[in-house]
Symmetry: C2
Subunit: 250 residues, 2 copies
DNA sequence: CGCACACTTGAACCCCCTCAACCCAAGTGG
DNA sequence: CCACTTGGGTTGAGGGGGTTCAAGTGTGCG
């Protein structure tokens, strides 16, 4: 169900019947479970949509009428406590499927942290698609399992890792994800702010900033710009991320 | 796939062909996706097994050859860091399906914290079952989604809640689960030790103990025995669990 | 240029952790 | 029957990692 409007962006109704066929994100998403011949069917159910930075498109507790598949940009998924404390449970970028839930209300909120393109599926249309394409359902199950594994890893991070280990894990994961997408450089771009990193890692913005500074002072990273990090010592980073030498310095 | 040996326990090969039909946990588990007529097929693939308290039956990193469905008792699922720090990601009791993973190695370990009965499925046999019973796959997807929602809730707890809120959330969830199983009392039994509660909530054993003591001193709970908690003020508990009055006392 | 916003840095504090002692109930064996 | 052990739990004192509060430093953009 990963469908994306061809660039330059064309609005929903005007989209070509085969917008799924031209989708950059298709091969990364659950939509690759649909054969090329059936893409028309898929495209007919998927409504492309665009959200600007800062726009909320899923709100925790609201009626869960739609599913989404991100095709471009990044969104943050988060839960909040009544007094404003926020926990980001993940960042969704191209290929990410959102809204998987049995309950009839969303369990989390989603907000674009940079311009986001995505495809919207109504609950009912998705159900029909799932019935017609069993492979799609298999693929969704796979996706859900992968997210479950990631969630468990994040629980380990939040429950037991130090601030240094958390940030190292974060950077390490981002490097690995970039590599999985074919980008093998040692520099990562961070579309999210320090505050969002903090809310993702269960820390405060100040601790994130200080930890970045310390890594830099130790010569393990450089910060070419606000939203870029260059990793100088990847082995060291992975070591810290995996929790080796909890109480060693240097 | 929830199958359980009729009590008294009968060992695998000797199990009746319809052990699934007599399984207490069937209606709570994914096995309820299989019609009564097809239970024989299910029972043929499910191998009942028993583990004593303390036995490890899934080891993180090992080859993931089997899936399990708990039919009795409780197991802890956890991940560990090289220096021994442990994070329990969940407790699996009757009806819980284990091993969902795309990767070919387990992402977590599982250990019985009280005597556990479960059914084992080989990867290959489960695949055949899934192909033959699409409803089973649908059910598994549902289960995975529910666990994902629970995992997100746990991330909020680990990342943003105080020790008081964590313990309150833990007790609140346990009360709700008991109610969902038809037990509507105000007393919960805790099969796990304080250390396991701590490893689940991202705290230390001392903090868990102290927080229990404080709740008791405030008259919100009583501790009839080591492994029982009686909730005196459920509304208060749910309020603390949901993070209201972060900085209020009383 | 100057405002707004994101980020950094510093100092004081506090919640929870660490370390250590102690309690208590259930075995175990002489 | 009681001394001893063992494992889980509680309680206390002190310390530290991260938070809180507050000020300062860029930096992009109208």
């Amino acid at each position: 169900m990963n469908t994306c409007a061809p660039r330059p962006i064309v609005v929903a109704q005007a989209a070509s019947a085969s917008h799924c066929a031209n989708c950059d994100a298709r091969h990364r998403s659950v939509c690759n479970a649909i054969s090329t011949d059936d893409l028309e069917r898929l495209a007919a159910s998927a409504i492309p949509k665009v959200f600007a930075k800062g726009q909320l498109f899923i709100e925790e507790g609201e009626k869960a009428g739609d599913f989404f598949n991100v095709t471009r940009g990044t969104a943050k998924l988060y839960k909040m406590l009544p007094d404003g404390r926020q926990q980001i449970t993940g960042f969704a970028s191209a290929g990410h499927f959102l809204g998987l839930a049995v309950s009839d209300t969303y369990a989390f909120s989603a907000e674009a942290i940079e311009p986001v393109e995505l495809c919207r599926f109504s609950r009912s249309k998705l159900r029909v698609l799932l019935d017609d394409f069993p492979a799609l359902e298999k693929r969704l199950l796979q996706t859900a399992c992968n997210e479950l594994v990631a969630a468990q890893e994040q629980m380990l991070l939040l429950g037991r890792k130090t601030a240094r280990e958390r940030l190292a894990s974060f950077l390490s994961t981002r490097i690995a994800e970039a590599a999985a997408c074919g980008e093998h450089g040692s520099t990562i771009s961070l579309p999210m702010t320090r505050a969002e990193i903090a809310d993702y890692l269960g820390l405060t913005i100040e601790t994130v900033s200080r930890t970045f500074t310390r890594f830099k002072a130790e010569g393990k990273i450089t910060l070419p710009s606000r939203d870029e990090v260059q990793i100088c010592d990847l082995d060291w980073l992975n070591g810290v991320a995996s929790g080796q030498d909890h109480h060693a310095f240097a």
